[in-house]
Amino acid sequence: MTSRRYAQLDVFAGRPGAGNPLAVVLDGAGLDDDTMQAIARWTRLPETTFVFPATQPEASYGIRIFSPRREVPFAGHPSVGTAHAVLEAGLATPRDGLLVQEGIAGLLPLRVEGSGPTRTIAVRTPRAKVMEIASPGDPRLRDVLATLPLGALPPALMDGGRRWWLAELRDEAALRAATPPWEAIGQLAQSTESMGLCVFARSDDPVYFLAVRAWVGAPAQFEDAASGAANATLAAWLASQDALPGNDGRYRISQGREVGHDAIIELYVDAEGDVWSGGRVCSVVDGQIAW
């Protein structure tokens, strides 16, 4: 039994408990696939990652990401959290403000800004495409949108690896008060092979420009506390409509309050149109794992 460095983190969180939890095993070398899957099942967290030495000179470190059930090629919050753990452990240093993670999905850059508790880390997300711009009266959307007070932009279906329906609501108060129409969201997710519906509204809050809620319709129905990927597709949608909030393509969103969390995600659309999704990370558990 070998002892390896272990961290449990809260990602997209300004304080422990606000964001999305993640476990990181920092010395993954020597663990086989079955053992990594068994550890990820045992931690009971949404994802557990394993860090390896990089095999390519451009990469800062290697990463593998497991949910309790299977290996995941890419996911936003595990990438951001793992970069934080790697920096805290001194396993890599940014070059020109960038780390490069080597994973199953290839090499992906992460941007590191600031230091200490206000440090932020953002990952460049896979390019998202506008699949479809719909009208609110679309028969597939009618039941989902019937009880929601809509905002300016039309509903749209985005594909950023996973598909999300996006809909702008009138204002933040309406968004926070909304009751998800679960049955209709489940049907929409199944009939359009999408995750479900992500709603957003512009906000006057001094910290964030948008409030977001992400309702997953299939296979299980739940509200996500902090969705790196859904927010990246939302940023791509807003950029395509010249409707980005904030300054110079940068803005923050608030998500998760309706389900007991309080996540802040920072989005950045760069000059090439790539979307970076990130935020702060809190270290919660720091120690060793013996397996």
Binding site: P16, R41, D286, G287, I289, A290, W291
Partner: protein
Amino acid sequence: MPIRPYLQLDVFADRPGAGNPLGVVFDAADMDSATMQAYAAWANLSETIFFLPPTTPAADYRVRIFTPRQELPFAGHPSVGAAWAALDAGLLQPREGSLVQECAAGLLPVRIEQRDGLRVPHVRTPHASRVDAGDAHHNAVEIALQGLALGQLAPALWNNGPNWWLVELADDDAVRRMQPDLAAIASLTIASDAVGLAVFGRSPHADHQLAVRAFCPADGIPEDPVTGSVNASIAALMHSTGTLPGIDGRYVASQGRELGRDGRVEVQVDAEGEVWIGGQVQAVIRGHVDC
């Protein structure tokens, strides 16, 4: 927020990953209930326990036990883990192999067996008794058990805190191969206010005398990996019918293999008819927590 010593244990396990995980937060005297509950919800383990100074000289240590949703007055696997953790941390010395745990349910005796250099805690469980369900659930029981090779003892509803349906099958093979009808089990347990239905079968193997599986579909847990309370109730049922396996009222139950675990629960019914459960504990994660 203060940094506190932290352990994540695997209980009823002879190796990491075989049993039921438990989070252990030490030095929690200054934490309020809401903070404990919020941390237990974030950690998402089946239980997290918090160590406090005892409020009575009769107790060696005090713990509070939280699931992600609520505080529990008592639970088996957290108590076995608590005794192990208290000794591991050097909080106390057992007196003649015995300890007294203070928890919300009151004072609980714990026995520490030393075996092969290991400390194996056994806790006395709350008294179990048969619930007279009359014939009200006869049909629902038949539907839930359709197609199964039943054993000698008639299916019965027992209570030792939670209500459990206990069903003997023909042998351990019938237990391992069972394909549970989760919808029928959910209907039965909801109608009879039971937390779940457990099956058990006698085993010819040298290292365990009983195979056990526990299903709680109405509680959102299709199958529980290793269950202290159910094993205690099964022991009380077999004791009441004079059919205890093993020697001198002691036997080992195997649970969790169908879920990729391999839990081992040591059971003993003493001369007074009290049921004790215990098992080996693995310290998987050692470190500190910020909560």
